[in-house]
Symmetry: C2
Subunit: 197 residues, 2 copies
């Protein structure tokens, strides 16, 4: 079975519509997905950026938010801009990484809807605890795992790999032959490549 | 008949595959295209960039060139990296603007193939003169028009409009209701919007 890694960042706007559709696009093509949460902050810092490029360059930001409106409307997704943008996504990424398989995918989709569909503050433990409870997961147990030294180290290692792979934006699909497809608009192309690889 | 403006920059890599396919995508949809050459240099300068972002950020550049290889292979287009990159596109933009309708589109496609398919130096008058001659246009006449004060002013005005529209990359499709679709991968979406607008 072909596999592809779906690399995503919870603070990333375009990762939201991609996360909401990638599984539905992968399944009929027979592509197994590995969900890989990572952090763009350290990667942006390595490029000399101290904020989201969408904030540093207002034209880029204006375009992106209008583009998100169109994309979400076409996909039937709610859109509410979180304030501040970007949200601190460290805890969310740790929690996602502490979960396995379907639980990680389900939590990630729920988190994106909370953040970009409802504008909820995803940096806050209470927000994340409520999302975990809604998925019938015990918040204390999962948050404990998420903040364990082993899980923190695991996220750091995953991030080091993202930098090594040259991922400087999200979302990205990585195929088994190490091809990177960057962007919500490259999901289909990446999955097709994964089948041929 | 629906119309859409195709904004492109001769130094822009992704404008090449877009320019080579946009007319074939617009015709069956009944969308009339207006070809709008412009310059990203002054727009980048307004963002504080003194070079192509693909040179400033090596990860971005590495990704883009690999992406271009895949796109050109899929589209059956030759790809040869021009040196230096980006090429100075001022003369090419002036010449394109001095031509009308189909001549502008034909010249633009020829120029892109020369630049990114054959790696020719498009900043040089001899390169451009040869392309004009191959299109049965008189090089001296067209170059004279291109470098007239009126045409230079026209390009400046077009560029001022691009900045006002918030175009900070190329290619872009602009629809009659002022929606902007940025990127080679948004050509189809922009044309579909143009029909509904």
């Amino acid at each position: 079975m072909a596999t592809a890694e779906f690399w995503y960042e919870f603070a990333s706007t375009y990762s939201y519509p991609a996360a909401m559709r990638v599984a539905d696009l992968a399944a009929p093509r027979g592509v197994e997905l590995v969900w890989r949460p990572f952090l763009l902050g350290p990667i942006f810092a390595a490029q000399g950026w101290r904020d989201s490029p969408f904030n540093i360059y207002p034209f880029k930001g204006r375009y992106m938010w209008r583009d998100m409106e169109r994309i979400c409307a076409a996909q039937g997704l709610p859109l509410k801009r979180p304030d501040p943008f970007p949200q601190n996504s460290l805890l969310a990424a740790r929690v996602a990484l502490a979960l396995d398989g379907e639980a990680r995918a389900n939590f990630s989709r729920r988190l994106y809807v909370a953040e970009f569909g409802e504008g909820l503050p995803i940096a806050e433990r209470t927000t994340i605890a409520a999302l975990l409870a809604a998925l019938d997961l015990d918040p204390d147990t999962v948050l404990g795992l998420a903040e364990s030294d082993a899980n923190k180290a695991s996220l750091k290692a995953q991030n080091a790999r993202a930098l090594e792979l040259g991922l400087i934006g999200a979302p990205c699909l990585l195929t088994e032959d190490s091809e990177v497809f960057w962007g919500n608009d490259r999901v289909e192309q990446g999955l097709e490549w994964a089948i041929r690889a």
